[in-house]
């Protein structure tokens, strides 16, 4: 017993995901892992054997061990992320089990966010399918460092080495496109148990270890020793005047008592006076421990601030280029403000530009402006590259370097649902490639804080002039023409709009566009340029009021991106 308890104190932890569709045998695989690792309690097995008497009578349906909700048990499929647990003497395992269909990308992404390893299941008879590529891509996108490709149902292909090697070759070619991810291929039969826990005798040509052996031995929690220390302050602990500690979970790196640190955003430097825990003071702590730090100097620090090594600060920015995975049934609304949560910070954010979507089946970018249904957006399960602005600058690292300080979620302020997972690529100011890159429309929009549009105001010249003054003073790139012939508009509209200029035109509307109703003013033409035709609109008598109407319309239609002030009275 002593040996047992002693071994337990040296056990580590591996979180992994499994993705695969119902037909790939994933549930069978997990059921077998749980069963064969002797973690399935007899009575659970009893109740499941009873239930499977209704279907495929006699053979134990391992997949039933893992289906949770009643509706799913009845339908025979799994529809959410399910967490399963098993343990061996060496390691504790947490499985984030997700369905494989494209419509459940959001579940895969959720399960993958904390995983260090992903098992991609392939049916040996079917070979490399789009979904296998998709699973590998999502794993790589979410920063999972280890991929296990399990080629299943080898029993149905006569345990053929040729079939296995072909699949391995095809997949390796695909994987070479993804950012560095280590991969392990193995042939298995989840149903019969080959290479799952025990090495298969029917595949002597395979020299690797079984899935179980691999899961038990793959190195975990390995942190590069040169990963910088990042400590988002979660809470200030101040029980009395003598003690002031900053509590949080170390996001990366290590810290020693006495080390020199900088506090953000003030950037003041000081030393770590002590690392406090319930069990006593520590000389040293590392990610992902939750500790409390005290500092030599009295610095004003609040929840949301960050403590980092002096001289090794993260990036700071309020305009961020990020990858978003859209999780909500309600599509992304480019006009909307969302709440953004990053470490302990809750801010307002606005998606300024959707640069392109990533087609997760082909991995090719789809340029947003070729979409035929304006306005461009992201629907549930879609992945896009965006530029967004945050109300206050964040201290962050690229997601590829830090899965905590590089990650955020977006929250709908009306429904409070989590609508997107975000992974920061960089702050816009800091993109070095752009130093030589041609200027893009997206950048202009981000800089100007508005899109390009041609605004027709009909005959109210005074409104046009006042509007120009107001927009100019507001910082917009605006110009006014008193006359613009329709042929000019045709020739120039794409250019003017790509230049992210607001062009005010007095005069009548453009022939060929629809007649406008007073409340229906925005027209997006086929090439994506924006024309706001207010020629038929009945403006208020007073010029100031009329100008305000136009500004409201521009905001409403998403031409003006940023409200004059970020108002957040509801913040922490």
């Amino acid at each position: 017993m002593e040996d047992l308890l002693d071994a337990e104190s040296r056990k580590d932890l591996l979180r992994f995901t499994t993705a695969g569709s119902v037909d790939d045998g994933k549930s069978t695989l997990i059921g077998r892992l749980l069963y064969d690792s002797k973690n399935v309690y007899l009575d659970q097995l009893e109740s499941v054997t009873k239930a499977s008497e209704g279907r495929n009578a006699g053979i134990i349906d391992f997949s039933l061990l893992t289906d949770g909700l009643r509706a799913e048990r009845e339908q025979g499929i799994t529809i959410d992320v399910a967490y399963r647990y098993f343990t061996t003497p060496k390691r504790k395992f947490i499985i984030a089990d997700t369905p494989g269909h494209e419509q459940f990308t959001r579940n895969m992404v959720t399960g993958a966010s904390t995983a260090e390893l992903a098992i991609v299941l392939i049916d040996a008879r079917k070979g490399l399918l789009p979904q296998s590529r998709r699973h590998a891509f999502i794993s790589s996108l979410l920063g999972i460092p280890n991929l296990v490709i399990a080629v299943n149902k080898m029993d149905l292909v006569d345990y053929s080495e040729i079939v296995f090697r072909q699949i391995q070759r095809d997949f390796e070619r695909f994987l070479s496109q993804l950012t560095s991810v280590s991969s392990y291929f193995l042939p298995i039969s989840a149903l019969l148990g080959d290479n799952v826990v025990n090495r298969s005798e029917r595949m002597p040509w395979f020299e690797g270890v079984s899935l179980f052996e691999y899961l038990e031995s793959v190195p975990v929690g390995a942190q590069a020793t040169n990963v910088p220390f990042r400590f988002p302050v979660q809470r200030v602990i101040r029980p009395d005047l003598d003690f002031r500690g900053y509590a949080g979970q170390i996001a990366s790196g290590t810290i020693r008592q006495g080390e020199r640190v900088a506090v953000l955003p003030s950037r003041r430097q000081t030393r770590v006076k002590s690392i406090v825990t319930f069990s006593g003071l520590l000389e040293f702590a590392q990610a992902p421990q939750s500790v409390t730090l005290t500092l030599d100097d009295e610095i004003d620090i609040a929840r949301g601030d960050m403590i980092v090594p002096a001289g090794d600060e993260p990036e700071r920015g309020s305009v961020l280029k990020s990858i978003l995975v859209w999780l909500s049934e309600e599509a992304l609304d480019l006009k909307k403000r969302y709440r953004l949560k990053h470490t302990s910070r809750l801010e307002w954010a606005h998606i300024d530009v959707l640069e392109h979507r990533i087609n997760i089946n082909t991995l090719e970018p789809e340029a947003a402006h070729t979409l035929t249904t304006p306005p461009p957006s992201l629907a549930m399960n879609e992945i896009g590259v965006v530029i967004l602005s945050v109300s206050r600058p964040l201290y962050c690292d690229p997601y590829t370097e830090n899965r905590i300080t590089g990650a955020f979620v977006l929250i709908d302020p009306f429904t409070n649902s989590t609508v997107a997972a975000g992974m920061i690529q960089s702050t816009v100011a800091a993109i070095p490639e752009l130093a030589r890159h041609p200027v893009t429309p997206a950048e202009r929009i981000a800089r100007n804080r508005h899109r390009g549009a041609i605004i027709f105001l009909g005959n109210r010249e005074s409104v046009g002039s006042l509007l120009e003054r107001r927009l100019f003073d507001h910082g917009c790139a605006v110009v006014r023409f008193t006359e613009l012939r329709s042929t000019d508009v045709d020739a120039w509209k794409s250019t003017l709009v790509e230049a992210a200029w607001l062009v005010i035109v007095s005069g009548r509307g453009v022939p060929g566009t629809r007649a406008v109703q007073p409340d229906e003013t925005r027209i997006v033409t086929a090439d994506g340029s924006w024309i706001v035709d207010l020629a038929a609109h009945e403006f208020a008598e007073n010029d100031e009021a009329a100008v305000q109407e136009v500004q409201n319309a521009l905001q409403r239609y998403g031409v003006l991106l940023v409200e004059p002030e970020w108002v957040d009275t509801g913040g922490i």
Binding site: S9, Y41, D43, A82, P239, T277, Q289
Partner: protein, 300 residues
């Protein structure tokens, strides 16, 4: 570099979760059920806010049918660590004669647990209730979130739950709604016992084997504590060396025969015993999927 073991990793995550509730929610409360999971939860809360006090009260929903030893332990323990304890009982249901035998287990739990919990949360105006539930406890909990959203009627709708990514938790709610928070989500029964052992956490003595008077009902041993336990005329309880694997109300929680009178022996027994933890909880046997039904109604 240290190698952190699995308990240290689980602990770090749980402490982070507890600190997040305290920092994001206005009026959190810890649902204290006196059991082993609660005991671990309390220790984690002590660690999370050290050297400050635990910044929220404890709530015990007392059905009045809990084992006497549990109540004694509860009072002693809470006083020793200096927390504010709120005890709530659905007195009306008791006055109406609620017992699992007269009302049936579903209705009795409904009144004395579910309704009592909802009433207590409403009375205290709590917006977040922290509990010790784990995902490995029961099939329907595999998909439960760490921060579980309950609508203004305290009901759980699987379609309303928010995706949880990384360690970023969305705690936004409207007034009248509340959250249930489960910092032990990724802990298993074995992890809980190992932590109790390593940390020397005080737990109710009923977890340890001792000769106790029990009515024998086939495989099950039922305590004679409550006067309304049905028994044959003249039937006397027998002295059996047994312990509780999980603690509920005495009429509905069976004991198991055991010699395990220390934590290491309990852990050893866990490796050999095949039946799942809740097997001895009579309340789970009403219908298939009953835990899930209870959750949808608002019971935890």
């Amino acid at each position: 570099m240290l190698t952190l073991n699995h308990l240290q990793l689980l602990e770090a995550e749980s402490i982070h979760i507890l600190r997040e509730v305290a920092s994001e929610c206005q009026r959190p409360v810890l649902l204290y059920s006196i059991g082993k999971d609660s005991s671990v939860l309390v220790r984690l809360a002590q660690k999370a806010f050290y050297p400050g006090p635990i910044p929220f009260p404890f709530l015990h929903v007392d059905t009045s049918y809990k084992f006497r030893e549990m109540i004694e332990f509860r009072d002693r323990f809470c006083e020793s660590i200096g927390v504010r304890l709120v005890v709530h009982t659905n007195q009306k249901a008791l006055d109406d004669g609620a017992t699992p035998f007269t009302w049936g287990t579903q209705r009795c739990c409904g009144g004395l647990k579910t309704q009592a919990l909802l009433d207590a949360l409403r009375q205290g105006n709590y917006d977040a209730a922290i509990g010790g539930a784990r995902r490995d406890e029961e099939r329907s909990r595999a998909k439960e979130r760490v921060f579980s959203f309950r609508d203004s009627r305290g009901q759980w709708n699987p379609r309303n739950q928010r995706p949880e990514l990384w360690n970023v938790y969305n705690t936004r709610i409207e007034s009248g709604e509340n959250l249930r928070v489960f910092p032990l989500s990724n802990w298993t029964e074995l992890d809980v016992w190992q932590y109790i052992h390593v940390e020397n956490i005080p737990i109710v003595p009923m977890y340890f084997a001792k000769r106790r008077p029990m009515f024998v009902r086939g495989d099950q041993l039922i305590s004679p504590e409550q006067p309304f336990i049905p028994h044959l005329p003249g039937e006397e309880p027998q002295l059996i060396k047994c312990r509780m694997r999980s603690l509920g109300c005495s009429p509905c929680t069976g004991a198991i025969r055991s010699d395990a009178d220390t934590v290491p022996k309990i852990i050893e027994e866990l490796f050999t015993i095949k039946k799942s933890e809740r097997q001895n909880r009579v309340i789970d046997h009403d219908t298939d999927g009953s835990m899930e039904l209870k959750k949808q109604e608002g019971y935890f």
